[in-house]
Symmetry: C2
Subunit: 390 residues, 2 copies
């Protein structure tokens, strides 16, 4: 289903030869995806990495999105086209021009570009540009699945999600398995909808949704140069949904995809749901949640199924949130192992055999809360990120 | 030599039974150290963790240091006495009282206490208090080495350093092998000098030294609840050194010990020297250096001997330092693999076989600089911190 679940969209995923073919031959060599909005509306919104070192396609697409119209998105895996200088930007520009050329009646200024892969390497344009022609030739209303596969890098599975309501749909695809952190993660996400809404409404819904979903997954604390989340509307359903219903549908799809990213993070054996409650403000809750999420010692302990709440407290202690150390409470999988900043219930009661681990940190300073998702730190993560450039 | 290199100090390191005896029997079961200042002067200064969740001995010793006089320091491994509530604080108080009792003429209010080990566990006072008596009985002018051994936790070696000049000496011992981060590291450090200086002068020299040494090692980004660095002066040399010479001696000893901490960090296979140059301010240089030091993906790459400069740039991009992305330059082991934010010299020229790896990040925005030391991220680190509570 993916990006072609909503009416008015076609997509394709092909093997252009940008990535080295995988030995297992499991379709892992798809590396170029094209998503086309066939209208009647071409409204779009986008959210991009807050990293100040931005890849060429991010710089390009931010400019495209200012117009609020996107007719097509071209995405490649196998190379991030980041830190490639003016020539790298020319490659992105040439890619958009090629898409406009092969799709009749399109303008390069309405073609968004996204790339993912190794930083600091030029893209093989001699393979990419012919790939654009092939992708255009294979565009289909059933192409969403292959497009989702083509944007994978170290992802073990492709990620899609769909919500349908009252004859309109929001669907999407995502990739991302490492360098996942607030301000978005190394993620490429394309959402499509056949709801009939202008760009400003899409922007409002998308920013609200990413703030509490993609912005609150933190697999490894690292922020990418290429993060891109796009929402395209075709208006093909002819339906103008209520703002609240639409916002909720976008949030649901984003939340689903964000959870899939965490569930497939590089080398992870645990998904850690960190809920900070009793905070004086939502900002405090998020700051504390991120500090816990990024504590390598805690991430190792969770990997070892060790309910080491001392490491939770030492992470909280590095933040500027409102709290008193002797009023902090921490539960791991619902056992309150730390009460009033000291020893609580018996840590041997904590059952950590399952993939999902829930940490609840009660700051006892207010009524605000936030949830951050993280992963454990494993030898497999080290291996996957040290054994080769990625 | 250690803390007894300077005249006027005695020390001891004994096995009180706080830690479980090690199977290899290599003296690793020493777990209680006592350092006594025999005067004639009892001046002291201290720097403590900036973690807001502070262990009981930190709360106690901060209070003691306000008086500027320390007659003895008692340090235990085998338990951090952190997050142990009011009873934990009573344990620290009782330890200081015991030291004052067994050392004739001492006052508990001048006895500093330091602890290291697992958070959230009460200390076995039935073993610790008799241990104080034993340690006092074994005090010697040659006891510095055993004291340094007794404060080890996961340290593979004990750490000492000494500088002697013109008949006065600064010496010291340190422990720390994980949870090493700015604001100090899980480190316990005791420095002694026989220079004849008041507490205020010690404080100035100690703060200046820690700011550019212990505060700039970042093994794993985690900040401890127990970090303590103490400097005690006996005045026994009768020499009042020049302020600059004394400051430099303290800095040299701190730098030496800090490098030993990085060189012995848990599971590390590389020591990474990150020098940020061309910064608009020293604060910018430190912020960028820490961001690079804490990037897990880069730490994995260094472990894999992969000169992955893209990960350096993506770390720099998350900071608020003054720079233009297309003017950044990065060298790894002196090969400028990134120039002007893009591909530079051939990365295959980078030789990363040795333990020390040098990363130079040039922000091209000014003339300030800073050096941060870090370690790589390894499967051994994960194993050591997940296989058991520590």
């Amino acid at each position: 289903m993916s990006v072609t679940a909503a009416k008015g969209f076609t997509a394709a995923g092909i093997a252009a030869g940008i990535k080295a073919p995988l030995a297992n031959g499991s379709g892992g060599n798809l590396d170029l995806a094209l998503v086309v909005n066939n209208g009647p509306r071409l409204a779009a919104a986008g959210v991009f990495t807050s990293n100040r070192v931005k890849a060429a396609p991010v710089v390009w697409s931010e400019q495209v999105l200012k117009g609020g119209r996107v007719s097509a998105v071209i995405l490649n895996s196998g190379g991030a086209n980041a830190c490639t200088g003016p020539l790298g930007f020319q490659d992105t520009h040439a890619t958009a021009e090629k898409v406009a050329e092969v799709l009749d009646g399109h303008s390069a200024g309405e073609v968004a570009v996204a790339s993912t892969g190794l930083i600091g390497i030029r893209l093989p344009m001699d393979k990419l540009l012919p790939g654009v022609e092939q992708a255009a030739a294979e565009l289909s209303e059933h192409g969403g699945e292959k497009a989702a596969i083509a944007i994978k890098t170290t992802d073990s599975v492709h990620k899609t999600a769909v919500v349908t309501q009252d004859n309109w749909t929001v669907g999407g695809m995502a990739k991302g398995a490492g360098m996942l952190a607030p301000g978005l993660a190394t993620m490429l996400v394309v959402l499509t909808t056949d709801a009939d809404l202008p760009a400003a409404d899409l922007d409002t819904a998308l920013r609200a949704a990413t703030r509490t979903t993609f912005d609150r997954v933190d697999s490894d604390g690292c922020m990418s140069t290429n993060d891109t989340v796009l929402l395209l509307a075709s208006g093909a359903s002819g339906v103008v949904p209520e703002a609240a219903a639409f916002a909720e549908a976008v949030r649901t799809v984003c939340d689903d995809l964000a959870r899939q990213l965490i569930g497939d993070a590089e080398g992870a054996s645990k998904d850690i749901r960190i809920e900070v409650v009793g905070a004086a403000s939502e900002d405090d809750a998020v700051e504390v949640g991120r500090s816990i999420a990024r504590n390598n010692l805690l991430k190792c302990a969770i990997h070892g199924e060790d309910p080491n709440w001392g490491r939770v407290l030492s992470a909280i202690g590095t933040t500027s949130a409102v709290f008193e150390p002797d009023q902090l409470n921490v539960a791991i999988n619902d056992v309150w192992v730390c009460k009033n900043g000291s020893v609580g219930e018996d840590r041997d009661l904590v059952d950590m055999r399952y993939r999902e681990v829930r940490i609840t940190a009660d700051l006892a300073a207010g009524t605000e809360s936030a949830v951050i998702w993280a992963n454990d730190l494993t030898a497999d993560y080290v291996h996957e990120n040290s054994a080769y450039s990625s």
